[in-house]
Symmetry: C2
Subunit: 364 residues, 2 copies
């Protein structure tokens, strides 16, 4: 009996069918991809980034131009993160207090302040469908006592986020922390659910995993914890996106995922296929007159040979980034779509084991 | 009475309606643009580059993969240059003799030899529709005596090119030289036409202009000389591509143009519009909620605001290169298409003066 689930929920910009991998469009664009190409890839939701867009071009400017959907030409659902992860990553350039995080822009060093209210304000201005609460993002191996203090602050910040008047069409997700400590995760979830009882969140995110802790600990945490999240709300595992991790997450009952990895790896020529990973720059692909992945129906695989993709990347051509990204995103979005169909058809366990088996097959 | 003309000729990959601007796809890709996007831009012909493709990925490899059309996913006509212009530009890394040009690869310094026969062999392997003869490419201000010697060699090379067995579907263009000396151009054309009498060339190119000479001299040469080219064959002005130069060339009776400028300028944010040039990076476009060119129906202008394009380029996003290139190529290809329609409708002079007038209008 699998814990995996096929679900759906509604947003002002369309329904979301899950499980779903959400491509990342940090600066108002999925790197190298037009909205038309993105529609063909078919993600249910894409991400925008509060930190980056708040600094440049500025959330007020985006609002004055009709919001992020119109600005970037994407009519589907958009989730915006809170900016917290980026701000907490600015080591040496930020100062945390109960009020929020003072930080310097990575662009020009100018001073800024990200509070729960400001994170909500930016996301309100961007007009995203799914809004993430601002949380403290503790490092992967934070000491237990410090983690408890951090979680308590995240809860207080969550309350402040919830009190901010978002637009009627926007839904707020709460973020659960607690590292790989199951009891802390449960404590924190309990705190979140107390707030939820008053006014329900649209979904629940599992944060603070895939941040440097051993993979076994992450997986053990997910295996125990995901099923404890409310069954009737969306579950979002943040920052996870390898095929193996997606499949494992789906098996634990996760609905939503995001990660920059598939697109970043694509730009370096590291491509995902139904037969396992490929580095398209390798000499063995120089004259290969076959598609990247014969099982894939993305534009790249339908149109070009591996030899062409090899040539483009070797020659440093811009088109390499576009075509490789189209494929890796199609592969990753397609994996979650296929998982959904398998779930609806009652053949998910067979699908999962077949997928894993193919990844371990050497190419002929 | 204008010398401008609307013409057409056939290739194995479709008819070519002229006047036509041909976008440059140096390394088997128009930089940053998929074949699907290219089709929407609608060029009659695109260029491939013999020098670059011969070195990487290699013309034999392209042939083994079915030719350049299949390799790059472009079903329309392709013109390949001879590689001469690039090889002659390798100052200090090439040595010219009657046999051909010995040169070192810009990629790895390896030694190569480009002869008329090798230039034909590469283009035969690439399988382009229009093949350019190998010519000596003299610098813009070459002394008259040296120019005469160079032209004579170009004629001998042309004969060797013509003797090479191309594929049946391929047509050979001869290249006329002579700098801005009308009498030399005429002498050289006379030599070419002697060869043409035995076996006709598909077209005639005007080479050696737009290579550093004063614009007035180039224009004066074109104004006198273009009409002396055979009326029933395609006329190709090489390396020319600003709106002003295209219009002037069309007015002199030129049919085909190519230039990297529209796409290169696009990548730097210097964009062509019906109201004149725009630098999209300028602060005045930061919040501009209007299309790049309201008179343009390209994907970029239909979909995005100037503010978005400004943001993308400021943020260094790959999509900026793609969207800006789509626009500048659409603009440039569209200018030659509009000129053709105006010619067919008998309103070309009005079209030309209206185009010039709009370029000089300041934006409101």
């Amino acid at each position: 009996m699998t814990k995996a689930r096929a679900g759906s929920f509604q947003t002002a910009h369309g329904g979301v069918l899950t499980p779903a991998f959400m491509p990342v469009g940090t600066q108002g664009t999925v790197k190298g991809i037009t909205p038309t190409q993105l529609r063909a890839i078919g993600p249910q939701v894409i991400l925008g980034n509060t930190y980056h867009l708040g600094l440049r071009p500025g959330d007020e400017l985006v609002a004055s131009l009709g919001g992020l959907h119109k600005f970037m030409g994407w009519e589907g659902p958009i989730l915006t993160d809170s900016g917290g992860f980026q701000v907490f990553s600015l080591a040496g350039m930020r100062k945390i207090s109960e009020a929020g995080v003072a930080f310097q822009s990575h662009i020009d060093g100018s001073p800024h302040f990200l509070s729960p209210e400001r994170a909500m304000e930016i996301q309100a201005n961007l007009g995203s469908d799914i809004v993430m609460a601002l949380d403290e993002c503790p490092p992967g191996q934070m000491e237990r006592g410090a983690l408890e203090l951090s979680m308590a602050r995240t809860t207080r910040w969550l309350k402040r986020c919830r009190d901010f008047p978002l637009a009627p069409h926007q839904g707020l997700f709460a973020i659960n922390q607690g590292g790989t400590h199951l009891d802390l995760r449960r404590d924190h979830l309990h705190q979140i659910l107390e707030l939820d009882a008053a006014a329900p969140f649209q979904g629940f995110a599992v944060g603070g995993l895939s941040v440097g802790e051993p993979k076994e600990l992450m997986n053990a945490t997910l295996a125990e914890f995901v099923e404890e999240l409310p069954v009737n709300r969306a579950r979002y595992l943040m920052g996870v996106g390898t095929p193996e991790d997606l499949l494992f997450g789906i098996e634990q009952g996760v609905d939503l995922f995001d990660c920059v990895l598939p697109s970043r790896e694509a730009r370096h020529g590291r491509l995902l296929t139904s037969r396992g990973r490929i580095n398209i720059k390798n000499a063995r692909h120089r004259a290969a007159d076959l598609p990247l992945d014969p099982a894939c129906d993305c534009y790249t695989c339908r149109t070009f040979s591996r030899a062409y993709l090899h040539h483009l990347l070797r020659a440093g051509e811009l088109l390499a980034f576009t075509l490789n990204t189209i494929h890796n995103l199609s592969y990753t979005v397609g994996l979650t779509r296929a998982a959904r169909l398998a779930l609806l058809d009652g053949r998910f366990p067979a699908f999962a084991s077949s997928a894993r088996e193919n990844w371990n097959t050497e190419e002929p």
